[in-house]
């Protein structure tokens, strides 16, 4: 059903009549009118219902007592403290004109007709009924869904059936419509199908749909059945048996959804770890420099993204989505330049002195954090591009958020990029030569200083990309690197084996998935949660390096003792 179809003039006049009934002092008339209004499905009513619920709708009776429904949201006060209310038309939202000027009567002339507490929930649900006919997909979906949630909207049933049978409608909406309809029957909210058999039948349908929303209702329904005196013991036990059968069915589905959700979250977290650890694998793994300011380079990437966003003027209301693509190379370059400066001033004096490089770069990190904090304050908002909202539903109830998918893709791309550079380009060959045998490379004419500089800049740039990617899912603060990632990502590098890209990928994904699988575990009444999950993971890593002191993929032979 299309919104434009229902907004015909004949209905309009009807709407105008119905609205006037709201001023009635008889609660039943008001109630009926709200119901009738909802059935008209006039899209303009959604705004009106919201205003009505808030209490912004008034009656401004004429001198002869004729009802005029008006909207007033803000009042104006003059110098004598008289409050005047500029009026708006209830449906169009335009100024309410009397003799071609906006009417601004004294506030005292307006009669408050805001709904009582009881009616307010009705108004609210009517709002959702209207949504069933919205042209916007998400609005329509939320409307369809809302019908099946308490307090139920039995009035919506015919529309829901229509939607469920509409071949042209979206699959997800049709499914939700069926689900909502059966949920209403299950709860006993539908007058025509109040018998226990009908409700049980609805339940079995929900079981076939594998409805997760029904799962939460099972206990209430079972309790309700038990308290029904008219059921015989046999009937009750039969009903219970079928309930437990359906519970099992939905439970299985729920477990699958949760497991796959956790797995995806794990892979996603792992991909973040890999992205961060990738830069470290270069600076730490290849060059042997402990760059404790790595997290701060990430932070710089994130702040660069913020700056680019400001430059493009991207806001949630006025999206300029391509800023996000433009920010990628810029974040890389800015972080790389900062890395280059760092290398020139500090790090180059500290090759082969890893512990000292740890301290000095930590100092650089502190400095960067504080400088950024002085410039930007404690918290800034990076608005992710609008396409990153929502997710891709690969199977019923398993939703992969676009933001996480993007991050996963970014991570794969970065790994590919680094692999390509290190393994397939001349620059990469020179890097490998320099890191394996500096003196030999130097004597063969490789300018090792230049290679050092560029390698460090490459690692730093990748850190910037990691920070850029992070903005799509997480908050940006000056100390984001220190608090969230630096320890974790070093653990990834250590576990994976130093200097091995494959090791970083395996341990990053492994740690990510393991974390997300451990966290939701429940032992008795104790849920593991993020903190204990971290402790357990750490214990596992300490245990792991008992057997593989140099990580998953240890360098072999003469290289093994070098680092």
């Amino acid at each position: 059903m299309d919104a434009s179809q229902v907004a015909t003039p004949s209905i309009n006049t009807e709407v105008g009549q119905l609205i006037k009934n709201l001023a009635s002092s008889d609660v039943d008339i008001v109630k009926d009118s709200i119901g009738e209004l909802a059935k008209t499905a006039d899209p303009r009513l959604e705004k009106f219902f919201e205003l009505y619920r808030q209490g912004s709708v008034y009656n401004w009776p004429t001198d002869s007592g004729v009802v005029r429904i008006v909207v007033n949201e803000e009042t104006i006060m003059d110098d004598d403290f008289n409050e005047f209310a500029p009026l708006l038309d209830p449906l169009s939202g335009e100024p309410y004109l009397v003799a071609d000027v906006q009417a601004k009567p004294d506030l005292l002339e307006l009669e408050d007709i805001s709904p009582s507490r009881k009616l307010r929930s009705l108004v609210n649900s009517s709002k959702f009924l209207l949504r069933l006919f919205s042209t916007d997909y998400t609005v329509r979906l939320s409307g369809v869904k809302k019908c099946g949630d308490p307090s139920f909207l039995p009035a919506a049933i015919p529309y829901l059936e229509e939607i469920a049978n509409d071949e042209t409608e979206d699959e997800k909406i049709r499914f939700t419509a069926k689900e909502s309809k059966e949920l209403m029957v299950l709860s006993g909210a539908v007058e025509a199908k109040k018998s226990t058999e009908d409700r049980l039948f609805a339940l079995s349908k929900l079981g076939d749909l594998k409805s997760l929303r029904a799962y939460a209702r099972l206990d209430t329904f079972e309790g309700e059945l038990e308290s029904m005196p008219e059921l015989s013991t046999q009937e009750l036990s039969e009903a219970k048996a079928s309930i437990s059968l359906i519970r099992k069915k939905i439970q299985d589905h729920k477990d699958t959804v949760e497991l796959s959700g956790n797995l995806f979250r794990g892979v996603s977290y792992g991909s973040v770890l890999v992205l961060i650890a990738l830069g470290l694998a270069i600076t730490f793994g290849l060059m042997g420099v402990i760059n404790m300011a790595h997290g701060e380079l990430m932070m710089i990437g994130a702040y660069t993204t913020y700056e680019v966003q400001m430059l493009f003027g991207h806001t949630p209301d006025n999206p300029v989505n391509h800023y996000y693509l433009a920010a990628l190379p810029i974040a890389f370059l800015v972080a790389a330049v900062v890395g280059l400066i760092m290398e020139g001033l500090v790090v180059r004096h500290l090759y082969n002195r890893p512990l000292e490089s740890l301290l000095a770069t930590w100092g650089v990190g502190l400095l960067l954090i504080q400088v950024v904090r002085i410039i930007y304050g404690d918290n800034i908002g990076v608005n992710s591009p609008t396409w990153a909202r929502g997710g891709f539903e690969i199977s019923q109830d398993i939703v992969l958020p676009y933001a996480r998918l993007y991050l996963l893709g970014l991570s794969v791309l970065s790994v590919g990029f680094i692999y390509f550079i290190i393994r397939k380009t001349r620059f990469g060959m020179l890097i490998r030569a320099t890191m394996q045998n500096r003196d030999m490379a130097s004597s063969l004419g490789v300018r090792t200083r230049k290679i050092d500089r560029l390698t460090f800049a490459l690692g730093s740039g990748i850190a910037g990309v990691a920070g850029y990617g992070w903005t799509i899912i997480g908050g940006v603060t000056p100390d984001m690197g220190q608090t969230n990632f630096i320890v974790d990502s070093f653990l990834v590098v250590v576990t994976g084996g130093v200097g091995e890209l494959l090791g970083v990928i395996c341990s990053g994904l492994g740690i990510g998935v393991l974390t997300k699988l451990i966290e939701p575990l429940e032992i008795g009444t104790f849920t593991v949660g993020p903190v204990w999950g971290k402790v357990i993971l750490l214990a596992l890593i300490v245990g792991f390096i008992q057997y593989r002191p140099s990580g998953l993929f240890a360098p072999k032979g003469r290289l093994a003792d070098k680092k």
Partner: protein, 431 residues
């Protein structure tokens, strides 16, 4: 053997430095009215940091192991003392059904299970040993020692070295910090332990639980209006503020004594480290730092020595924590943040890695600087804001590592040691 003489010089100098400055000069300045008791208290706290730095210097300067979780061990000692002081602190708090008082700081953030009410709160079992002061002191030293032993055993045996060890210890520091921040471990969460009142009340020295303590006290105070005796002799409500007569932590005399005890402990720690470093054991430790594979080849087991040094460092950290809390009167998990443990490394690096006197010097200098630079100053041409401190600190990291690899003690050496060495040489030639 000129190295040996240098060491002798440094040893003597530090010896005199601690005695003169710590025991004589600073108390004299206080008695002369130049330093306030607040300054004494602050210096006392910084001296505990010096003990912490000594431990790390032994570990990092001599054995070459960089531990980034020293403040975690410090907090183990600190929390031991904190629990002890909380047991005897403040009149607030309620009595649980076993007659133990739930300290106010714990009561405020007690993690009730679903369905529990405030009357169901119990003092956790692991709090109970800390009622007794001697037990607290022993536990405050033994717990970090044990923790470091277990960690060291697993880590050093599998030959985790250098930066790997540093990163691992940092991860452990972060994990411990997260755990201590939680309310459900019943260590008062992020609020930390606080509301300390008295130290060493009679009940804490000779008894192991408040019930015994009250028995003694009941006989002395049978007619006290503060006590509500039941017919069977049990007690409903105890007024601990009357029951526990100890030394008030806000009393200047007590604070000065705590300061002196801290200096004495620092002196003792210094002697211990000096003794270890000068003994044959110390030479093995230095050998580990300089060439571990060769030492291994000679038939030594480096990991046993490493574990030993790690345990000593952790125990010293525990001692520092024990001494710190009565002077600071609060202990929170923020002390365990990763950056705090890195700070210890900076103290040692600033003072002079591989020089015990340097570690003490570094801890005092950096902390005094911190104290000075985290308040506002107007130099006329320049307004110093506390916001600049992290920048200053960061620059200090870099400058020390790049320009002063041997630390401040090197500067002192250049000025002083020449005269000392000359005098020793003179003595030798004369004899």
């Amino acid at each position: 053997m000129i190295i040996h003489k240098d060491r002798l010089v440094e040893s003597r100098r530090t010896f005199f430095f601690i005695c003169l400055l710590g025991f004589v000069l600073i108390p004299a300045l206080y008695l002369g009215g130049i330093l306030s008791i607040g300054d004494i208290n602050m210096l006392g706290r910084f001296m505990t940091f010096a003990i912490l730095a000594l431990g790390l210097d032994l570990l990092w300067g001599y054995v070459g192991i960089l531990s980034l979780c020293q403040f975690t061990f410090f907090c183990m000692g600190a929390y031991a003392m904190g629990m002890h002081l909380a047991h005897h602190g403040g009149p607030e708090g309620i009595i649980d059904e076993n007659g133990w008082k739930i300290p106010a700081c714990l009561f405020v953030v007690y993690p009730y299970e679903v369905g529990e009410s405030s009357g169901d709160a119990l003092v956790p079992g692991f709090w109970k040993p800390f009622w007794n002061l001697p037990v607290t002191i022993v536990l405050g030293l033994v717990i970090p020692a044990l923790a470091s032993f277990v960690l060291g055993y697993f880590v050093f045996r599998s030959r985790v070295r250098g930066v790997y060890f540093a990163i691992l210890t940092q991860a452990i520091a972060v994990a411990c910090w997260l755990v201590f921040c939680r309310n459900d471990v019943k260590l008062c969460g992020t609020n930390g332990l606080t509301r300390f009142d008295v130290i060493a009340p009679s009940g804490s020295l000779f008894t192991f639980n408040p019930v015994d303590a009250t028995d003694d006290w009941k006989q002395d105070n049978a007619e006290s209006p503060n006590m509500d005796l039941n017919k069977d002799g049990s007690v409903d409500q105890l007024d601990y503020s009357v029951a526990d007569v100890g030394f008030s932590l806000s009393d200047p005399g007590v604070q000065l004594s705590l300061y002196l005890i801290t200096v004495a402990c620092l002196f003792g720690s210094y002697l211990l480290c000096r003794w270890i470093v000068n003994s044959r054991l110390g030479k093995v430790l230095v050998a580990i730092r300089d060439d571990e594979p060769t030492l291994n080849f000679f038939g030594y087991k480096p990991y046993t020595f490493k574990i030993f040094a790690f345990c000593i460092a952790a125990t010293l950290a525990g001692l520092a924590g024990l001494l710190y809390v009565p002077q600071m009167k609060i202990v929170t998990p923020s002390n365990m943040e990763a950056v705090r443990s890195v700070m210890v490394v900076v103290w040692v690096a600033v003072g002079g890695r591989g020089s015990l006197g340097g570690a003490i010097l570094g801890a005092l200098v950096v902390n005094l600087l911190y104290n000075y630079l985290t308040s506002e100053h107007d130099y006329g041409f320049f307004q110093w804001s506390p916001d600049y401190w992290p920048i200053f600190l960061g620059l200090m990291f870099v400058v020390v590592v790049l320009l002063l690899p041997k630390g401040l003690i090197e500067l002192v050496d250049r000025v002083k040691s020449t005269t000392f060495v000359k005098s020793i040489k003179k003595e030798e030639t004369e004899s």
